[in-house]
Amino acid sequence: MADAGTLTSATALEDADRRKAWGFVAPALLWTIAFFVVPFAFMGAMSLWKREGRDLVRVWNLDNYARFFSENALFQGLVNSLEITVIVTVISVLLAYPLAWIIAERVPKRLQRMALILAILPFWTSYVVRSYSWLLVLSKNGVINQLFMNVGLISEPLQLASTRTATVIGFVHFFVMLLTLTIYSNLIQLSPNYRRAAADLGANAFQTFWHVVLPLTLPGIMTGAFLTFVLCIGDYVTPQILGGNNELVLPQIIMLQLGRRADFPMAAALSIVLMLAVTVAYLACARWLKIERA
């Protein structure tokens, strides 16, 4: 009897606890549902409507998606986005890894934090301003063209701005900083014992790096690369400022639908395509990505 009594009071307590816990988590959940899940679902539904003339046709159809695959101007946006994103991710990893490695291995311990902070300092320039500042470097009368002309390397200014190269440079600049940070924090956690063991077993510096250090830092590389992919493929500002109106990427095409044509259903359909591209990338990297509680 007494046992039964404590049991009920224990469950009653648990119920009260659970109600309280729901109360604490509810505001965040409701916010996410109201302002993320619902709009997202609404957008998904809208991508199945279409715009005809000035009217919105609220009948389920796949016309927007069919148009996306058949109209070269739209489909090319995805191709451009993927190409630029893959190029940027690869170049950024290749540039950032040696930098992170040198900071972790060659720079004296007490200076490492300083070196790292310095390496990511321009990260804190405003996002829009960062692309603009590359314009100062790359434009027709910009720093590089004037320098090259003064040295006599070229006689006519090069077309550097408003090209895919400019977009790639702007992106790489941003993501080298990000990747240096993630790869460095991965490298620094490696116990030196692994390397000692490899050396004891007769591996030279290159073999140690290739067979031991690199595989162990792969999670850091993949986390950074995934982040690069997601941020790069969804960005509108950098391609718009640096790439100009040549070789439009998907976000630029989405914004075009919003602006001149006010074709929300098409913009929604293109966003879903963008989402799917990110999801595929996520599935490809999923086994290296983890969110854990300490």
Binding site: V25, L29, V38, I102, V143, V176, S271, M275
Partner: protein, 263 residues
């Protein structure tokens, strides 16, 4: 020996090369904000503060600066508060579907800002809700809440549970435990979450661009300045924002993270 020296020369050369690449645009930006002339490109004509004067005299720019501060502060406070409450509930209580709830709270992090903005914009249009700084705030909480939740949740180690239990045994209710025990213990990560949110909101463009109308934030105002092409005034406001961020970063490094390192 020779190989070691050449390897180290190579390392340092590489370091200098990448640092030069990283700092080139910022250096150009700041240098030509002092340009005595109309174009922020070489040659450098001489030192002048006229563009900074122009920035401070620009009413619209100053209003945008104020709007950005308000939006960043309000959205960050809401994000940290909601994120903290949710982290507390999910780390300390057994709730059904807690993995799903965590997934849901983190989910906006994996979606491009453009898509979040577009979704909110279509919804606001459909519900005939006028766009304003309020809608920008809502959007910024959507992107910052996952971040705050993840950071605070990650730092809620199980070793804190006993201290909270002791407080509860001594008669504290949940709110007292949270305010007087949990929050102070987690202060470094709460502050980190807060300042990260402020930075993200402060710098965010596409949501602020699509969800605002008459009052705009600083990145949106700078965006509209870009239409006039290369302009030393844009350099000046860009340099100011950069210096302000670096000052905040230095302050954090010296106060917050300096302290946690010692502990």
């Amino acid at each position: 020996m020779l190989r070691q020296i050449s390897a180290s020369v190579l390392s340092w050369t590489y370091l200098v090369f990448v640092y030069a690449f990283i700092f080139l645009p910022v250096a150009v930006l700041v240098l030509f904000s002092f340009q005595d002339g109309r174009l922020p490109v070489p040659p450098f004509n001489g030192f002048s503060l006229q563009w900074y004067e122009a920035v401070f005299a620009d009413r619209k720019l100053m209003a945008a600066l104020g709007n950005s501060m308000v939006v960043a502060l309000i959205s960050s406070v809401i994000s940290v508060l909601l994120g903290f409450l949710a982290a507390y509930a999910l780390a300390r209580y057994k709730l059904p579907g807690s993995a799903l709830q965590r997934g849901l709270l983190i989910a906006p992090m994996t979606v491009s800002y453009l898509i979040i903005a577009l979704g909110l914009l279509s919804l606001m249009n459909a519900l005939h809700i006028p766009l304003s700084l309020l809608t920008v705030c809502i959007g910024h909480v959507v992107i910052n809440l996952p971040l705050c939740f993840a950071i605070i949740y990650a730092s809620m180690g199980d070793h804190h549970i006993n201290i909270e239990r002791a407080a509860r045994d001594l008669g504290a209710n949940d709110f007292k435990v949270m305010a007087l025990v949990t929050a102070p213990m987690l202060m470094p990560s709460i502050l980190a979450a807060f300042f990260l949110s402020v930075t993200f909101s402060w710098d965010e463009f596409i949501i602020a661009f699509l969800l605002s109308r008459f009052d705009v934030t600083l990145p949106v105002e700078i965006w509209s300045m870009l239409r006039s092409g290369l302009n030393p005034k844009t350099n000046a406001i860009g340099s100011l924002v950069f210096l302000a961020s670096v000052a905040v970063l230095l302050f954090l490094e010296l106060s917050l993270f300096g302290r946690t390192k010692k502990q």
